[in-house]
Subunit: 439 residues, 2 copies
């Protein structure tokens, strides 16, 4: 459980002046982590921390001799190609590095002269996935998404009986997770129309997005040893944005009885920046079940989880079509939601995932599932926004979209703001769908 401390003070300002720019995702109160190097270079990938429009190079920081103790140990771990070693260290080390960064980057810090040489402009950076992701688990934590989808398949019984008891989740594919900015081809696969005698193999005609958050596991638990809900957050490094692209015509034909497979594992896009749980502390909110719903079983319940287990994170999806790009038009927002609507908290996902002894490892990724909010304009996938493809969206330039079209680029955004706290953001998670390969 992370409490507020000096690093959260909204009055803090950095000598990196862009950190104070209006609407910046990366003020001094955020300090998220990524793996980066200079664009076009053959430099080693290494960890970095965002401040304004700059990146503190953790390899250079670790070599600078300006840190000591846990903070130095964390910077050395963060200097590696991926953040796995840093993630493995646990919250004491993460917190020590955050505090040292916060102090050294503040206006008036003695470190300013030395640390100015450790900065790389974000405009010059290329990003790697933050971690080598061993296992990726995708959950289904929005009861609104589950209900909206369920209505399309089972109008009289949209929500399955286990939903309010079990945080439904399944294993996803790690190898095809790509970092923001990577394009992918429209996938090909088997589909079968309800009235067709046999399936056909073709490019998916029902390509969708899923607006999710990604949760990076920090320190591991041993195989056979569950993580209790009171310890669960100590095993979480931070959160990022995740677009779980989905082929809605491949999915219904393949998913019985073992779940989605090729409809999902052609590409999933992750934002480069991981915002730590400590940075999110000012945006914790109470987690409460709607009146009359079952309460979580004891292994997924705690006073802390009830009082502050959820996170108030605003989320949005922007779409830019090829036509908009050609006309020089920016992406337009097609939906917005908030992570606070989730039916299960981060801590509950960790406690549930490990109740059987399953071992989570540093760099493992948990997806929240599609984070649709309670109203239809907060739906976080096209299948909901267009009611199963029956009500196309009309874009400001007059184009319509039922499903994604070739060349469409989708940008996920996430941010936190409230009076009395510094606004922090997640950067962007962007991907473009290219035409399918020639069949």
């Amino acid at each position: 459980m992370t409490l507020l401390n000096e690093t959260h003070d909204p009055a803090l300002q950095s000598w990196v002046s862009s950190a104070q720019a209006a609407g910046s995702d990366f003020p001094l109160q955020n300090l998220p982590f990524a793996s980066f190097r200079r664009q076009g270079s053959q430099e080693a990938w290494r960890g970095g921390v965002a401040i304004g429009d700059q990146i503190v190079d953790l390899q250079a920081l670790a070599a600078s001799g300006s840190l000591s103790g846990d903070a130095q140990r964390a910077a050395e771990a963060g200097a590696q190609e991926t953040l796995n070693a840093l993630m493995a260290l646990g919250p004491k080390a993460w917190s020590a590095l955050r505090l040292a960064l916060s102090r050294g980057l503040r206006v008036g810090a003695a470190e300013q002269a030395q640390w100015q040489g450790l900065l790389v402009p974000q405009a010059q950076a290329a990003y790697n996935l933050p971690a080598r992701i061993g296992d990726y688990t995708d959950f289904y934590t929005s009861i609104h998404h589950a209900t909206n989808i369920g209505k399309q398949f089972r109008p009289d019984n949209p929500l399955l009986p286990n939903y309010q008891w079990v945080p439904i989740g399944y294993h996803g594919r790690s190898s095809s997770i790509v970092v923001s900015g990577t394009s992918f081809k429209r996938p090909v696969g088997q589909t079968k129309a309800p009235d067709a005698a046999v399936p056909t193999v073709k490019a998916s005609a029902r390509m969708d997005i899923e607006l999710e958050m990604g949760i990076f596991v920090g320190q591991s638990n041993a195989l056979g040893e569950p993580v209790s809900i009171s310890e669960a957050e100590d095993h979480v490094f931070g959160l990022c944005l995740l677009n779980d692209w989905s082929a809605r015509d491949i999915q219904p034909w393949e998913y019985q009885p073992l779940g989605p497979f090729l409809s999902k594992n052609f590409a999933s896009t992750l934002s480069p920046w991981v915002v730590t749980l400590e940075a999110l502390a000012p945006y914790r909110v109470a987690f409460a079940r709607p009146e009359g719903d079952p309460q979580p079983l004891p292994y997924m319940d705690s006073a802390h989880n009830r009082e502050a287990g959820a996170f108030d994170i605003a989320l949005a999806v922007d779409l830019q079509t090829s036509k908009m790009r050609a006309a020089g038009e920016k992406a337009v927002q097609i939906t917005q939601s908030n992570y606070r609507h989730a039916y299960w908290t981060v801590a509950q996902l960790v406690a549930h995932h490990t109740i059987n002894g399953c071992n989570l490892q540093p760099g493992d990724l948990l997806g929240t599932g599609t984070l649709s909010g309670p109203s239809l304009d907060q739906a976080a996938a096209l299948i909901e926004l267009t009611v199963g493809g029956k009500q196309p969206l009309t874009l400001p330039n007059g184009e319509t979209r039922t499903w994604l079209e070739d060349g469409d680029a989708v940008v996920l955004r996430g941010w936190c703001e409230r009076p009395g706290a510094a606004r922090i953001g997640f950067g962007i998670c962007e991907g473009q769908m290219l035409p399918a390969r020639t069949l």
Copy 2:
């Protein structure tokens, strides 16, 4: 497509005389790979090749100066901690190393004097997982298993309509895959009896095995680039044994709508030895669909696949209870099956998995799913053998088993034999279930 060559000659004998022992799994015609070191040592894990009751140490072989070209390159890759680098090289290098090993280990080989110093007795070896498994996909390739399980849930409609068209598969958990000889605790989880109002959290009371084969991916395909069925086998390094332990009371409550999760991911046991496709060449058999069944779609069909896409591999499951162990009694066989009964071939699984562009990476693991044969005594899981727990098995010592009990050890075995070819085997895949943790 691997043809027979001099390494398959059944007359070949090795100067390691135990390779000729009756019933040996590891004659000169096999030459499977594992990752090993001496028991109780802190030596580096490295690759080894089984010959009789010995292991050829690939680290020592690579340093010996006795190989060259592709064979040397493969030995150097195989000298690493896991076999991933060797797997990545592809069939030309694998084949060159196999040929060099076959020639150097033959009776009369000039290498004998030098290579005797490269051997480590299997009796002194500890094993690692053969590879760092990035992603693990479990398929469902036995139509007999799918039908048997389906009958228990849907007596009138046991086989779902997609089964004969789509090689059904789902993502499994990599982190909890353990090597043969590793014990695990009975898992705890949510279960709900059909007549109960609410679920309860308890140790699983319906613990089961699943007799499967594991398929190790060799060389990778790039994201977005499918592997055609004609190239599919070039992307497969070899086969091993896999026990996909399952908690049958956790499974039905959690698996709708996204598939099995905590009922499976507490432990999966893998045999240490990986038998290459080349070693299995004499045991290829025709792949044919039953009369009247749909033929595979073109992307999963080829002349080679029809003529020789399946493998004739005998499989068996042995059980040893605590009582048998205390009485000094050996494990008893409770079922046997054969991989040739699978409804989809190795090549079809690879072609299907990548049809959407999903990238397979060296060391990725595909499970075949439970390999039940056509008759009930060839069922490859207790849920089938005991007809959903209704017909307990009676063991020779008078004990009965509906599901596994604490202390039960299960051993999977696999081997190939036919007139005119050398018998080869997979070694064993063994695991013991310990009592659940205290709740």
